[in-house]
Point group: C2
Chain length 416, copies 2
């Protein structure tokens, strides 16, 4: 099995100014190729530390991926450290990257200055993988480390540029290293906690052939992804997935990179149906999840965040008696919110949330972390049916909101 190191360079990480999200993306891509990440480390903008840490990584792993430490305002400590590490005498200009720099600056109306021009300069021994999204290129170096067989890829630190370069970097890794054949199939589930899920599918998992490996990938918004991986040979996961579907039923909602919001969107688009949302405790997060899917305007008409009882009554038509008798966090209220927004925005479906995200509020009967969720559906005869669910969580405000929203999406997709 090939091994890798993932390194980030930049003082901004070591002083806690930014969260490093690049390493996680890179590790996931390497993992999908069957490459084991052994080292994951952050290095400050210090030439000595960069050289010693990268040397350690190159000596002990086959592939080293570095992000950050490049860019027009940086001191280019990284680039010169890479020149030394790769045994390059000097620098050469990448005409291909220069063309992208000219195009990008031109589009933004920014005049080219020396620091931009310097970004097209790379160490002699480097192979450039052009960056079409930014000015700093990806630099690839081969034949490094104590075995003379390791490769190093240096990417810019800006997340959308680094992630944009990953497909080309992974393709380059596949070409340069003899990787074992590997096949994946991922099933996405929602609503069953990881530990319960593990119990439910224990016998099925134990019966998997030795060359098929199962991984649990839990995510609060997505649910638990179950990834089957086969090393070597031609993979046919169909029989195992059919068995899994029998065990888990409608807890399975998709595959691969599917999310609740992407699956809901696909279903609505296919059926030519529309959606509206009414939010209280989730405060806009539910709508944000639906609109995180590009092209959602095909089926999503909009939402009302009714953070006050006045808006619940005036805009959504929730009855004052309902609020007086049951309160805003109640099945009756969330039911009227869902059917109300469906009628006001004239859609086929609607979802609604009303709960107590905390930290304040709540009562012994309705503690912080309680929410009522609803999914409304317009029937062919014009009447509206509403499914409801009550959930309880005991986390921070932000995490409670995140969970309320995912469970509301799950209730909606079960009732499409």
């Amino acid at each position: 099995m090939k091994t890798a190191s993932v390194c980030t360079i930049g003082d901004e990480i070591l002083i806690g100014q930014i969260v490093d999200t690049n390493s996680s993306h890179i590790a996931r891509e390497l993992n999908l190729l069957g490459i084991q990440v052994k080292y994951m480390t952050s290095i400050g903008d210090d030439r000595g530390r960069i050289i010693s840490e990268l040397t350690r990584c190159l000596d002990n792993t086959d592939i080293v991926i570095v992000t950050g430490g490049l860019g027009p305002t940086k001191d280019d400590i990284t680039k010169d450290a890479l020149r030394e590490l790769s045994g390059s005498a000097g620098y050469k200009e990448s005409s291909e990257q220069m063309a992208h720099i000219e195009r990008i600056l031109g589009a933004r109306g920014i005049p080219m200055i020396d620091t931009n021009r310097a970004q097209a300069l790379v160490p002699d021994n480097c192979t450039v993988i052009p960056n079409t999204l930014g000015t700093a290129p990806c630099m690839a170096f081969y034949g490094l480390g104590k075995q003379g067989k390791s490769a190093l890829y240096s990417l810019p630190g800006v997340p959308f540029e680094a992630i944009g370069l990953l497909p080309a970097v992974m393709a380059d890794i596949r070409r340069h290293f003899e990787l074992e054949e590997i096949t994946h199939h991922t099933i996405v589930t929602f609503g069953i906690p990881e530990s319960t899920l593990a119990k439910q599918i224990e016998a099925w998992e134990d019966a998997l052939p030795a060359n098929i490996h199962l991984a649990y990938l839990p995510n609060p918004t997505v649910g638990v992804r179950l990834r089957l991986t086969q090393f070597g040979g031609k993979a046919d996961f169909t029989p195992y997935i059919t068995e899994l579907q029998e065990i888990l039923g409608e807890a399975i909602y998709g595959e691969g990179e599917d999310t609740l919001q992407s699956v809901i969107g696909r279903r609505l688009r296919a059926e030519g149906k529309t959606l509206a949302l009414a939010e209280s405790c989730t405060g806009g997060h539910l709508s944000e999840l639906i609109t995180s899917v590009a092209g959602c305007s095909d089926y999503y008409k909009g939402s009302v965040t009714s953070y006050s009882n006045e808006v619940k009554m005036k805009v959504l038509g929730v009855k004052s008696e309902t609020l007086a008798q049951y309160g805003a966090v109640s099945e009756a209220c969330v039911r009227e919110m869902a059917s109300g927004v469906l009628r006001v925005l004239d859609t086929d479906y609607a979802a609604a949330t009303s709960g107590i995200a905390g930290p304040g509020g709540g009562s012994p009967e309705k503690p912080v972390g309680t929410a009522w969720l609803a999914a409304a559906k317009r029937q062919p005869d014009g009447s509206v049916t509403v499914a409801t669910q009550c959930v309880h969580f005991a986390s921070s405000r932000a995490v409670n909101i995140e969970r309320f929203a995912s469970y509301a999406l799950d209730l909606l997709r079960r009732n499409l």
Copy 2:
């Protein structure tokens, strides 16, 4: 200057399943105490690697903070590695943590099982800092490393538990190490890019006394934080801040941990005023930011996400002629959205967004990344005035949405 290492333990990080947010929080807290983070690294669930990496960190830095590798379903590789590293012969029970475990499980109605009980067991040489938010305690060890002077703190990996324990851990570090006196004052700005800001305050920065250090802390949602730090002695930053206010004017909107949404909330609460939002391209994110502030129901009435022209007209009262003549992404439309939602939700203030987040859509005149923003205000005579702004960004869908929302908040706070 004391030095530190921040380590995360867990295969889930090395396979890219989760993003490590704990390290960034911990590094920031250490940095505020004037402690330099030298190593930041992730280690898999492997006993040998845990021992060798933690030994390297303890030998080379004064303080080592570890998160993860604990918990009822883990193999407790970490805890036993820590027992060995600390020279503990065996385990003892922490009655204080046991009381928290009983309370937490009791509140959730979960019966106590052996794996829960085992969480109160800690190595002999360890000092327990109790975890009131979860079942795994924080374990502190002193007198480690090749100098016999280093300390190690092991925290659970669950972010809200780790972050909840940080104040107690930092207080413990202050007690155990002689730290140089350090004082900070942070000013928060929005709307001026970091590089431009640096030019504007260059002369001011150069004139700062040698014992006062300035740090730029940019954040896409918050703006650029400017942090003044003084090592030793009694600090009075007042004259420097007064000068800074003269240079930057209303680009400065707060101090310390202020955010646009917290400052807006404070102003509205103090004046007894209310707020409504109308969103198009931001799809709920603006409302999510406002509701991320606990207690916002005091001043926030709600929002309408009008993702279709139909909802813009029907719910917000945008004129069909406006949409026909100027389109949805226009000053005229966003102006009618803001004044419309102010009237419909009957508030004193409103903000609105309409733009093209991408990746699809856009035209030569209105490319992807363009948005119109508006802030409406009800005047004493009942009339409504609206301020507008057009912004252009060239990033991914998610980043464009984030920037549209922050600029809308900034426009709102400038017009309160």
